[in-house]
């Protein structure tokens, strides 16, 4: 079957669904989108109606229901499923079911065995250690027992004291959580039990799984990532550079992502930053080769102030911030790299068609996540209606959004209030920063809630933090 004969089920919503649709169009592929009642006004529904062919849109009861997705795929004649990020993106059972059912579909992501191997944090750590890759200490699996949890926490406090950490702390997080939700810090072992219980109850309510992870939190670090891409052969992984995602909300959700991960050409670091970037890239590729990684994926690292990297986890999916790597990447000198289109193409079985030597990088990319929230009040989400949203078009700016700019839009309460991703390119860090500030200053983002209070957004937070990007 030729690539262009495939039809892709877009098993996601919002901005990522739109980008998958656009990538399908670029590749000449048919697609079908799903949506729920709350999302009827979302941009991905609109684009599916405008651009889609026969059976390109179907209302479902939930994005979380695999049966719904399979039923729609069959009815629409889809041959492949793109999970986007979140939902089923890292669910190996889903990937396995998709590829093993009677009417087989291609899961556009790594094969289910790879997802299972790297989704399991013990396995990932074991694999990393076997290759000499340093990892973050902590509980290697979800803990369900209070006594055991306390023991792990106690040992982490002791470990940090031995390391000379002045204010040791332990991170308690819901195992099934993600994106910075359900995480708390504990500074005192006496308070551990109550925090543990709170997180456990939270996890049970939200995810129906009371498993809790207990980890050491390394303060004062930078959060880096390596973008890996590999075709179905699993033998020739390449990297699309590094990203720095250190500017986060208090809930540890990313707000600004920058590619590349450090900029030793304009900023002085207390360590050999170029060497650290080389190290984490090589470690990531070594692991990818070892497991036969066969799609796009991200290796997440923390780098301490003395320049030591630790592997945190592997995200076996496309990430929100993929576009910021693409904006500085060139393949055989050509601009316009689209990692989602690459993911689909290689996911459907095409060979990658180029090697590491063909990939170069130019300039600096910044991605801002525009979110309706209140950064001064612990990033509390803001809910209401957006009735003014616009920005001047620029050759160096790419906006990805599901929020219409010509119609009012009610933010659904079922999902995070993400409004848009803005990706800015500059020939160097100074120019990228300057353009970033110019973009934020000219952006129009207005609205009001039920009580008539004006829209709250993180625009000022993003602007205030632009000055310190890539500094450590």
């Amino acid at each position: 079957m030729q690539t262009k004969d495939h039809k892709v089920l877009v098993a996601n919503r919002g901005e990522i669904a739109i980008r998958i649709v656009q990538a399908c169009r670029k590749l000449g592929l048919a697609f079908t989108c799903v949506y729920t009642a709350e999302d009827a006004a979302s941009g991905h529904v609109r684009i599916a109606r405008e651009l889609g062919g026969d059976k390109s849109l179907c209302r479902v009861s939930s994005y979380h229901d695999a049966n719904e997705l399979m039923a729609v795929a069959d009815d629409a004649g889809a041959t492949a499923v793109h999970p986007g990020y979140g939902f089923f993106a890292e669910d190996y059972r889903f990937a396995r079911r998709v590829s093993q059912r009677d009417r087989k579909l291609i899961f556009i992501g790594p094969s289910w065995r790879v997802i299972r191997e790297l989704g399991d944090k013990i396995n990932t750590k074991r694999l990393a250690r076997s290759l000499g890759v340093p990892t973050v200490p902590g509980s290697d699996r979800p803990i369900y027992d209070e006594m055991e949890a306390e023991k792990v926490a106690q040992s982490l406090f002791e470990f940090q004291e031995q390391q000379g950490v002045r204010k040791p702390l332990v991170l308690v997080k819901a195992s099934a959580g993600g994106g910075g939700m359900g995480i708390e810090e504990v500074y005192d072992i006496d308070l551990f039990r109550s925090v543990y219980r709170r997180i456990r109850n939270y996890a049970l309510r939200q995810f129906k799984d009371e498993g809790v992870l207990i980890e050491q939190r390394i303060r004062d670090f930078n959060h880096l990532e390596v973008q890996v891409v590999s075709d179905r052969s699993g033998r020739n992984p390449v990297h699309f550079g590094t990203r720095n995602c250190s500017i986060q909300s208090t809930g540890l959700q990313k707000r600004i992502e920058i590619a590349p991960g450090f900029d030793p050409s304009s900023i002085e670091y207390g360590f050999d930053a170029a060497q650290v970037l080389r190290d984490i890239t090589q470690h990531s590729l070594a692991m990818a080769r070892k497991v036969g990684y066969d799609n796009v994926g991200t290796w997440e690292w923390i780098v301490t102030r003395d320049g030591r990297p630790f592997l945190m986890e592997v995200n076996t999916r496309i990430q929100v911030e993929n576009g910021v790597s693409a904006t500085i990447a060139r393949v055989r000198g050509q601009k316009g790299v689209d990692l989602i289109a690459e993911q689909i193409r290689i996911g459907l079985g095409e060979p990658l068609g180029y090697g590491q030597e063909d990939i170069t990088f130019e300039g600096v990319g910044i991605e801002y996540r525009l979110i309706a929230e209140d950064p001064d009040n612990r990033f509390t989400p803001w809910v209401g209606r957006v009735d003014g949203f616009g920005w001047p078009e620029r050759p160096w700016l790419a906006m990805h959004t599901h929020v219409p700019s010509d119609d009012p839009y009610d933010i659904p309460t079922e999902f995070d209030p993400n409004l848009a991703l803005a990706i800015i390119w500059g020939k160097d860090l100074a120019e990228a920063r300057e353009r970033g500030v110019e973009f934020l200053d000219t952006l129009v983002l207005e609205g009001a809630n039920n009580a008539g209070e004006p829209l709250r957004s993180n625009v000022r937070f993003l602007r205030d933090n632009t000055g310190r990007i890539l500094k450590f």
Binding site: C58, S61, E68, A71, V72, R205, P381, D416
Partner: protein, 216 residues
């Protein structure tokens, strides 16, 4: 205080409600031989464990899901053109005309009589752990409320905040929210009965019980 006689008369003037039975999820629909004008029954039994009349089945991934009448009433319309078709979630399948039952009338009237504590935001609501324990052990009416006590956990976008009660002291007489379901801003969460109004509320209940004739 409201006028219960007037309220009852108003409800008696239009004692019907249209109920639309929709597809709970996607799938291929097969209707039963239920016809327009037929009488159907809703769930019954102490815990509503007996299902209502079977109206249709919807098949998805080789699983057949029966779709039952959710209330008793008369079938107004069966959307037969959907027979054998693959439908989207939420597609209307059957319209019923439902005659209000005693309990429903009582609920409508109680909503006017009780002090309602409403949802400040569209969110999911849960009773706070201490309250939840009491509710589970001996029912919502065992919880006595006072101004400022932690009553709810409000959950939006997976973020949780506690919500304190404000209003007159009293007991919880009615609970209007469902576990894990969103409640819109301004919709009531609970109905509270202050102790001095308990006898009044009981009078209302008694009147509805005697005056409302349930029709088939």
């Amino acid at each position: 205080m409201f006028d219960i006689t007037q309220l009852l008369d108003e409800i008696k003037a239009s004692p019907y409600e249209e109920i639309v039975v929709t597809a709970p999820h996607t799938g291929v629909v097969t209707f039963t031989d239920v016809r327009e004008g037929a009488r159907v029954i809703g769930p019954s039994g102490t815990w509503k464990e007996k299902k209502g009349t079977l109206l249709a089945t919807i098949e998805r991934e080789r699983n057949q899901k029966p779709i039952h009448a959710v209330e008793k009433g008369e079938v107004k319309e069966v959307l037969r053109h959907l027979e054998g078709a693959f439908v989207e979630a939420g597609t209307p399948l059957v319209r019923l005309r439902h005659f209000l039952s005693k309990d429903e009338v009582l609920a409508i009237i109680l909503k006017k009589a009780l002090h309602l504590f409403v949802a400040p935001e569209r969110a999911k609501y849960y009773f706070a752990p201490d309250v939840d324990k009491k509710v589970k052990a001996s029912g919502a009416s065992s919880v006595s409320l006072h101004e400022g006590m932690d009553l709810f956990i409000m959950s939006r976008m997976k973020r949780e905040a506690s919500l304190a009660y404000s209003g007159p002291s009293g007991v919880i007489y009615a609970v209007y929210f469902q576990h894990n379901e969103n409640v819109d801003a301004g919709q009531p969460l609970i109905g509270v009965c202050p102790p001095d109004q308990l006898s009044l509320i009981e009078d209302v209940v008694a009147r509805v019980q005697t005056e409302w004739e349930e029709r088939e």
